[in-house]
């Protein structure tokens, strides 16, 4: 098992690391459009393309936090637009429960984000990432679930 958390960085050099799970059909295309359209956004996000937002199990979110992600974004098609018709509706229920549970346990609000981004929303994607990056930056490095070796 590998935990790819960069160690030993000083806090004033600290930059938030955000993992974004983007659905293949809408949000990833949206990110692509943001790039093609040259919308600027902070480089703190690492994108992982998934077939559908419903592919994202809570484990992937928790594992990201454990491995040192300071924020996690899950993004899929707007309701009604799912390539698989209802994947995002099913995901929405799952995430509602997870989101509440994480907050309930006291994991800081603002670590885990959910958003609908369509393939046409390149500009919105860039804005979204900018917003989330700043929110996570304001929170500082993640603490709660990070696994350290010492």
């Amino acid at each position: 098992m590998r935990i790819n958390k960069m160690q030993g960085e000083k806090l004033d050099e600290w930059e938030p690391k955000i993992i974004a799970f983007l659905c293949n059909w809408c949000s990833y295309a949206g990110a692509d459009l943001a790039g093609v359209s040259r919308h600027q956004y902070p480089p703190n996000t690492r994108i992982i393309r998934v077939p559908c937002s419903s592919r994202i199990s809570p484990l992937l979110i928790l594992k990201s936090l454990q491995r040192g992600a300071d924020g996690v974004l899950i993004s899929g098609c707007h309701p009604g637009d799912c390539h698989y018709l209802s994947g995002n509706y099913v995901a929405r229920r799952k995430f509602a429960i997870l989101n509440n549970l994480l907050e309930y346990l006291g994991i800081e609000k603002g670590r885990v984000h959910f958003a609908w981004v369509s393939a046409a929303e390149g500009k919105r994607f860039a804005e979204l990432i900018t917003e989330i990056t700043e929110e996570v930056r304001a929170l500082g490095p993640a603490k709660e679930l990070v696994k350290k070796l010492d």
Partner: protein, 316 residues
């Protein structure tokens, strides 16, 4: 209690003699005071061992899966709710199970009694309808059962079996006016850092014995995520991060399925308040999706369904 035991035995004998079932899963007297133990009865002679009392705390639905034979099962309200969940998830066929439903007054939490006795050992317990007489080396104490029930029994509103093929005795009156999620609400009201502190306090006790998972009738994944090696989701040590993720994911996995039978809680040797998580999920499922697990065979499980106007304020 005695009557209930006799009625269970008679029902079991009849079922076995008439070859309507091959096996009865019930309880027999345990080896310690205030303890009963699951038993597996295949002949009507063996059925003599079957008993019923306030220490029949295990959820026997846990033993139903993966059987070839036709099974009779002694089931309390919560057990029948688990059976419903199992039937819905196609783990057990309704026809395969003969449910001997037993109305339940709640099960005694021996740890609460032990805490009250502060280390004095119970050597004998005589159970009456409402009280239990406890005897130790140099004490005798009578307690009110109602004051020492498991937490899940205190908030239970399904004391009567939800489905059954035969009902033993009369139905009991369901509790009214209980604040079902009082504990959850109390916890929700605390500040976030206190909640995290108290969650990690609980989890730090975990010895990763998986008794909670193995006692749960609904934890039956062929390969549990904690056992997977490719990928290895979490480490195997008692590291707090690993243990936290174990408990969060386990609880999450029961969303819309958990019937709050309390089996996980009762099995935990370290006294971790596992229901603190499962209850919250149960409450949310009820509030957000208007669903309660194991109360009928018809409703579609909430995470296998959706509605166009499901809440989504948390999504940007």
């Amino acid at each position: 209690m005695l009557d209930t035991s006799v009625m269970i035995r008679d029902a079991a004998k009849k079922l076995l003699d008439q070859k309507r079932v091959d096996l009865i899963i019930g309880f027999e007297t345990g080896t310690l005071p205030l303890r009963s133990t699951p038993c597996f009865v295949r002949t009507s002679e063996e059925a003599e061992k079957l008993i019923w009392n306030a220490s029949c705390e295990n959820n026997l639905a846990r033993y139903l899966r993966g059987r070839e034979e036709k099974v009779g099962i002694v089931a309390k309200g919560c057990d029948t709710r688990s059976i419903i969940s199992l039937i819905k998830e196609k783990q057990v066929a309704r026809e395969q199970v003969f449910i001997i439903g037993v109305p339940c007054h709640g099960m005694i939490d021996r740890r609460k009694i032990e805490a009250k006795l502060d280390g004095k050992e119970i050597l004998e317990a005589d159970e009456a309808t409402e009280r239990v007489i406890l005897k130790g080396r140099d004490f005798t104490e009578t307690i009110n059962k109602a004051e020492f029930l498991h937490n899940s029994c205190n908030t239970c509103s399904y004391r009567n079996p939800v489905i059954y093929d035969v009902l033993i005795g009369d139905k009991v009156e369901e509790k009214r006016g209980i604040d079902e999620y009082g504990e959850v609400k109390e916890f929700e009201a605390q500040p976030a850092d206190r909640r995290w502190q108290s969650f990690t306090n609980e989890v730090s006790k975990c010895i990763r014995c998986y008794a909670c998972r193995n006692a749960c009738p609904l934890c039956y994944c062929q390969e549990c995520f904690v056992d997977s090696s490719q990928p290895q989701w979490i480490g195997k040590t008692t590291n707090l991060s690993d243990a936290s993720i174990f408990h969060i994911v386990c609880a999450f996995h029961t969303a819309g399925r958990c019937v709050d039978c309390g089996a996980c809680d009762r099995a935990c040797p370290m006294g971790i308040d596992i229901r603190k998580l499962t209850r919250k999920i149960e409450k949310d499922v009820k509030e957000l999706f208007h669903y309660q697990a194991g109360v009928n065979l018809e409703d579609v499980p909430p995470l296998a369904a959706f509605s166009l106007d499901d809440p989504q304020q948390f999504i940007r």
